[in-house]
């Protein structure tokens, strides 16, 4: 299994991380080779384990339990103005 430069660029684009360094790609490649050994494990008819606990997710009433604290919500915003987050222009 090799990961070519085009795949790394595609994955970086998907992850929204600008221009990962070459070094990073090479190291990721070593790790993926190491991970390949999983193919030795027989997993036919094995259910994937998606959770560490055997319990159904709890249900609760569909009511508001928190909110109406705009100042707290905006307190860490890189930019905020009159109760809103200020973000870069999205629509031309």
């Amino acid at each position: 299994m090799t990961i070519d430069a085009a795949t790394v660029r595609k994955v970086a684009k998907l992850a929204r991380i600008a221009a990962p360094e070459e070094r990073l790609n090479a190291l990721a490649h070593g790790i993926m080779t190491w991970i390949e050994q999983l193919s030795e494990v027989e997993t036919k008819d094995v259910e994937p384990m998606t959770s560490a606990v055997h319990q159904a997710l709890p249900m609760r009433d569909d009511v508001v339990t928190d909110g109406a604290r705009p100042d707290a919500v905006l307190s860490n915003a890189p930019r905020a103005d009159r109760g809103f987050f200020v973000v870069p222009k999205v629509v031309e």
């Binding site: 193919s39 030795e40 494990v41 560490a52 222009k89």
Partner: protein, 490 residues
């Protein structure tokens, strides 16, 4: 260096109750110790001495009125992964910048409810991704322990390196930590401290900065087994704000310390006898079985056949979950925002500038294994291997009551030694990661010193929700090991 900072949490609580000293005196002693040693150790990222002294004064007032809680007046440190209202929380990352949480994590809220006093926030690997504390954006923590005759700085382990170093160096009575693949137990082993990762779901993850949500669990690092029981009882409990929090009663874990372990069956997994294991670790492991045998336990060899696949499965599952969890760091609502001509460029630059190299690497691996065409081959495969690892434990626990293993494959190593070889770094977690995948509790306690005078830990693994048995066994082993060595804090 004050005698007060050398106390265990249990002894300090007795001293407070006996009015031998006040919470303010105890807190002031710890603030002094931090001022003296933190420059060299870099364990605390933020200290909150005024808040600590104010909380200690309130604690003294409560005790006078006879209203003291279980941990009242005990100064502790908090891993910088736990959101603390009004106190900067970074998870060791630049991308969180000067994030000041407007809310409190449930685990720390439980500790404050019980009267504990916060001294500050403890350094860690960035987003808990690391085994040496070297991925922290704020520089590594130095282990207070050094090899005999050497001044070379060693790692305290990771990711809870700040927590472990602070406890070992008497810069707090106990600390909170978290464990996704071994991040409580490996640092505990490297620093001669006790650490427990409880059953998944014991501690609420609300307000804990997320790394890999199906594996992350909070737990304490302490100076004794009893102390770990006290801390874990306070930290645990059902929380409706975390849908994976277990709705079960929290036992008084400290009460299990000192109970007889006679007749318990202890498994020793043959797959943990790895090639190249240092002789000293193998000998200590053997000594551990003898201590338990002497206490009336029966030792049985068991098999956990899929052990060698645990780390590769972990390095698919954890990065996959991390790539999803860390998508929230987009520079819009909080944290670092980069510059850019378009929205996409702002995202890409915010994340490129804000995340460190190891975090980027794991996000890329996670994105890759979840992407179209690779999902079944990697991610689904890893989830199936995870099931086989959990099944191995289920089979083992039909024969034995607990499992004894080494905690880590080596003692603390020099800072810088493994930084350029991620796979070598990942192998630190070879004995601990299996319990995260299976959701089981694991406890590490100091068992002895190696030839260089560095601490080595042994790990006890238990059935789900059976931490009590681990505390009883660890109590017996703690007494037998009689580990009294201390780092040279001079």
């Amino acid at each position: 260096m004050s005698e007060l900072t050398r106390l265990t949490l249990s002894a300090a609580l007795e001293g407070l109750e006996a009015k031998s000293f006040s919470a303010v005196e105890l807190t002031r002693a710890h603030i002094g110790a931090i001022d003296a040693a933190n420059g060299r150790l870099n364990a605390y990222l933020v200290t909150t001495p005024e808040k600590a002294l104010a909380a200690a004064a309130e604690s003294d007032a409560r005790r006078t009125k006879g209203e003291a809680g279980p941990l009242d007046g005990a100064p502790i440190g908090v891993k910088d992964l736990f959101c603390t209202e009004g106190v900067r929380t970074t998870a060791g990352s630049k991308i969180l910048g000067d994030f000041i949480p407007p809310y409190e994590s449930s685990v720390t809220a439980n500790l404050w409810r019980d009267g504990a006093v916060m001294l500050g926030k403890l350094n860690m690997d960035e987003f808990a991704m690391g085994s040496s504390n070297e991925t922290s954006a704020f520089g590594p923590v130095a282990n207070p322990w050094r090899a005999k005759g050497s001044n070379r700085a060693l790692t305290p382990g990771g990711s809870s390196g700040g927590s472990a170093a602070a406890v070992a160096a008497d810069l707090c009575l106990a600390a909170t930590a978290s464990d996704t693949g071994g991040s409580i137990r490996q640092p505990a082993s490297f620093t001669g401290t006790v650490g427990i990762k409880p059953t998944y779901g014991r501690c609420s993850r609300y307000g804990m900065v997320a790394f890999a949500s199906s594996l992350d669990q909070a737990g304490p690092i302490t100076k004794s087994v009893r102390d770990a029981g006290l801390m874990l009882t306070s930290m645990s409990g059902h929380d409706p704000k975390d849908s994976t929090s277990l709705d079960v009663a929290t036992p008084d874990f400290a009460a299990f310390v000192g109970r007889s372990v006679k007749g318990l069956k202890i498994g020793v997994p043959r797959e943990y006898r790895m090639d190249g294991m240092p002789e000293e670790i193998a000998r200590l492991w053997e000594a551990g079985t003898q201590w338990l045998r002497a206490a009336g336990c029966e030792i049985k060899e068991i098999s956990l056949p899929h052990t060698k696949y645990a780390l590769p499965a972990y390095y698919i599952i954890a990065p996959a979950e991390a790539s999803s969890n860390l998508a929230r760091y987009d520079g819009m609502r909080f944290g670092h925002r980069g510059e850019g001509g378009s929205l996409t460029e702002v995202y890409e630059n915010s994340r490129a500038e804000g995340f460190g190299e190891e975090v980027k690497r794991r996000i890329l691996i996670g994105t890759y294994v979840l992407s179209a065409g690779y999902y079944d081959a990697y991610y689904l495969k890893a989830l199936k291997v995870r099931r086989r690892i959990a099944d191995d434990f289920d089979a083992a626990f039909s024969e034995v009551d607990a499992i004894l293993t080494p905690t880590a494959p080596s003692a603390a190593f020099p800072l810088g030694e493994k930084q350029d070889d991620p796979v070598a770094m990942y192998l630190n977690d070879v004995f601990t990661v299996t319990t995260n995948l299976a959701g089981l509790p694991g406890l590490s306690l100091p068992a002895g010193l190696d030839g260089q005078g560095l601490p080595l830990g042994l790990q006890l693994i238990g059935r789900a929700l059976d931490e009590g048995t681990l505390f009883s066994l660890a109590g017996v082993m703690e007494e037998a090991a009689a580990f009294t060595a201390r780092p040279d804090l001079g």
